[in-house]
């Protein structure tokens, strides 16, 4: 087999894996948009906040330590204990539920019935507020996150492909774990929205707020639930990306990677986020591999958007988005 073809196969596999990581971020956007019609600009910051909270809890960091020390003249930074990863994840999830409640109670509840652009602007404000709170709560330094996920080259794939192609493929163990988790997450989310009472209520709210209210569905509860689930997805994305690069403020910028995925997959489809992520992941990696060197490299960021735009020309609602029907 020609060498370039073998390399391309490795690039495609890595593109698929990268696509799963993009899709993990996109999922959070889809959940909230699907249930409330809100494009949640704060989704990336939620991933940052969740990951920082997780590390903070694991390391026994005192939240708001700088503030406490500044006010009371103390010098406390750590409680002096470490929390096991699983317990810390559960506690972080509780914090994300609390955050969901706060967002609903203090922001969204006051904006029911407002134009989508107003809600979008509110989430921009929320993003900056949350970033500031995360900074104040846990500090700005880069934190190492280790919840026991494997990292580095998968030796089995390396050896197997070497025996076949005389060239061992590089696949990161972390990407494999992310793929498995994303698959489980999507299956769980689809099952939840299709087969549970709360899931059906969520879909009813998404279809028509007024009609859902008229049959006794609590809008407040559904929105808190949706923001909590989005918080959980943000936590998963934060763990995956934070394990790769350490938990730091640039983690919030992973939202940029989700936008072309959403444009392509549609804002309302959970499978769309996954398929969109895979197409973007493979597309940008293959383009960089084939034409990147001739174009000076670093093509991935802009090519992802170009690819999404090309799809939009033919399907403005995205691949899996709900069909746009305008009645006049």
């Amino acid at each position: 087999m020609p060498e370039q073809l073998v390399f391309a196969m490795e690039v495609i596999l890595n593109g698929l894996m990268a696509g799963v990581l993009y899709a993990l971020v996109a999922l959070g956007f889809v959940l909230i948009y699907k249930a409330s019609g809100i494009f949640n600009y704060a989704q990336g910051v939620m991933a940052l906040f969740a990951a920082m909270t997780l590390v903070g809890i694991m390391k026994g960091q005192v939240p708001f330590a700088h503030l406490i020390n500044a006010i009371f003249g103390t010098h406390i930074h750590y409680f002096g204990w470490n929390v096991p990863a699983l317990v810390a994840i559960i506690l972080t999830m509780a914090v994300m539920v609390l955050l969901a409640w706060a967002v609903q109670r203090f922001v969204m509840r006051h904006l029911v019935g407002q134009e989508p652009i107003i809600l979008f602007m509110a989430t921009i404000g929320l993003a900056y507020f949350l970033e500031g709170v995360a900074d104040l709560m846990w500090g700005s330094e880069i934190k190492t996150l280790d919840v026991g996920l494997p990292q580095g080259i998968n030796l089995w794939i390396d050896e197997t492909t070497f025996n076949i192609f005389d060239y061992g493929f590089f696949i990161d163990n972390l990407d494999i774990v992310a793929t498995v988790i994303a698959a489980l997450l999507v299956a769980a989310l689809v099952a939840f929205s299709q087969y549970t009472k709360q899931g059906r209520a969520m879909r009813a709210v998404a279809d028509d707020h007024q009609a859902a209210l008229s049959v006794g569905i609590s809008l407040n509860f559904i929105w808190i639930m949706v923001w909590s689930v989005a918080g959980f997805v943000a936590l998963v994305a934060g763990i995956m990306w934070g394990t790769k690069s350490g938990v730091q403020f640039s983690l919030s910028l992973i939202a940029l990677k989700a936008l072309p995925v959403l444009m392509l997959g549609g804002f309302t489809s959970i499978p769309g986020a996954i398929v969109g992520g895979l197409i973007i992941g493979v597309g940008e990696k293959l383009f960089e591999f084939a034409l990147g060197p001739a174009l000076g490299g670093a093509t991935e960021n802009w090519f992802a958007y170009v690819l999404a735009l090309i799809f939009l020309v033919f399907r403005p609602q995205g691949l899996f988005g709900e069909k746009i029907i305008e009645r006049v």
């Binding site: 700005s140 580095g152 350490g246 403020f249």
Partner: protein, 427 residues
């Protein structure tokens, strides 16, 4: 004798003179945003040194120093806004810690007569004082860095790099592109093959670049990164099992937080430096006593001795020494930006001076002149030991290829002078 007389005269002037204004040092810091991890310790080190001088010495030449901090978020527009909003406060020197902001400020500071110090960053050709009257980038610049990396590789490969493959992984920005020209020129001179691998901001996704490195198997990788790009690159290098001892980052890719997320696998990674390591210097005892223990530290006081804190401290020390030089030159403690510029242009850092400051060996000896605003461009190399959690020196401050670098500086600064109709000075 003359120096003593000048100091006595200065003391007399200070004793008899009116109440003097503060010496203002704007700090265009970034404590928020994606680059905060590097911005915070630098800003803390910068502020803490002036606090030390105020608390221990009563200021510089008897005049208190005041650090005027303005948050830029590493954003060029905000950096320019910070400059505009602080320059009227009597700013003596700007240090924006951003190449993007530096490029925007060069014409502004020149017009306003305020010096700009871009230590180890910014526009490299600003080392030519004949063209850039108000910009200084001593003690080393990016091109010294590029040459320093190549010199180190030459030394460790018996002086011969012909036929070797070197890849440059760089931040796809004005900053990251700075070393390309030098590395290309040096490639012609030494016969190595150079592969350029840009990484887009912020650099969280670098799979393509590292797969290419895995396929093409360069002998060495040089990195020009900042922010999250550094941590991801070190992690990806470890993932593909690239030999860490053949991976060298510029000084902005060589802090503790750049390597810690990769854990043990980062051991062996190397970085360039122009400042000392750790906190084993007498000045740190004073910092602990007068700044940290008294609760006056800019941060939590837990960054002392870290790489970026040391850089901020060093930048502040160079500014303070330039103030002292200016005070002596002009016979007044209450200097303005114009006098500060003169002080920077006449700055001389000797080992004796560094020892007196409690910073012996912390940086190289150098002097600044009218035509040389860049200093000697000496570059050291350090290596990370993950188990110990420390950087260890593997090469002391050594000269770089000034023949190549000076020619490039002349060419680039001449082009700038022609574009901006600048007449050369120092004739």
């Amino acid at each position: 004798m003359n120096k003593k007389l000048a100091t006595l005269a200065l003391g007399a002037v200070m004793a008899a003179g009116p109440v003097m204004a503060d010496l203002v040092f704007p700090s265009l810091s970034y404590r928020t945003g994606p680059y905060a991890a590097g911005g915070i310790p630098f800003a803390d080190g910068y502020a803490d040194y002036f606090t030390l001088l105020n608390e221990r010495d009563g200021g510089i030449g008897g005049v208190p120093a005041r650090v005027l901090e303005c948050e830029t978020g590493y954003n060029t527009e905000k950096g320019v806004e910070c400059y505009e909003s602080t320059k009227g406060e009597g700013a003596l020197v700007y240090q924006p810690l951003s190449t993007g902001i530096t490029y925007q400020l060069i014409p502004k500071v020149t017009a306003d007569g305020i010096p700009l110090h871009t230590m180890g960053y910014g526009r490299t050709s600003a080392a030519n004082g004949k063209v850039f009257s108000h910009v200084f980038n001593y003690p080393a610049n990016y091109w010294n860095g590029a040459s320093g990396a190549i010199n180190y590789l030459l030394d460790s490969n018996g002086g011969d790099l012909s036929g070797k493959k070197i890849a440059l992984v760089y931040h796809n920005s004005a900053y990251g592109k700075e070393p390309i020209r030098t590395l290309e020129t040096l490639a012609e001179k030494h016969g190595y093959d150079l592969t350029l691998l840009p990484v887009d901001h912020p650099g969280q996704e670098q799979k393509s670049q590292w797969l290419q490195i895995r396929r093409e198997k360069p002998d060495f990788v040089i990195m020009w990164g900042w922010g999250v790009m550094n941590q991801v690159a070190v992690q990806e290098a470890a993932n593909i099992r690239f030999p860490m001892e053949n991976f060298i980052g510029v000084w902005w890719s060589g802090a503790e937080f750049d390597v810690q997320p990769a854990g043990e696998k980062a051991t062996g990674y190397k970085a360039l430096t122009f400042t000392g390591l750790g906190d084993d210097y007498p000045v740190y005892e004073d910092l602990q006593k007068y700044v940290v223990d008294s609760g006056k530290a800019a941060g939590a006081g837990d960054q002392l001795g870290t790489v970026q804190y040391n850089r901020g401290l060093y930048a502040a020390m160079l500014a303070a020494e330039a103030v002292k030089t200016a005070q002596e030159m002009h016979g007044t403690a209450d200097i303005d930006a114009s006098m500060m510029r003169d002080g920077m242009e006449a700055l001389e850092i000797t080992n004796a001076k560094m020892e007196a400051l409690g910073m012996a060996g912390f940086g190289p000896e150098f002097s600044v002149s009218c035509d040389n605003h860049g200093g000697p461009g000496l570059v050291g190399v350090v290596q990370w030991d993950a188990a110990a959690g420390t950087w260890n020196p593997v090469q002391d401050f050594k000269p770089t290829d000034v023949e190549v670098i000076n020619a490039l500086i002349e060419e680039d600064s001449a082009a700038y002078a022609a574009e901006n109709n600048i007449s050369q000075r120092c004739e």
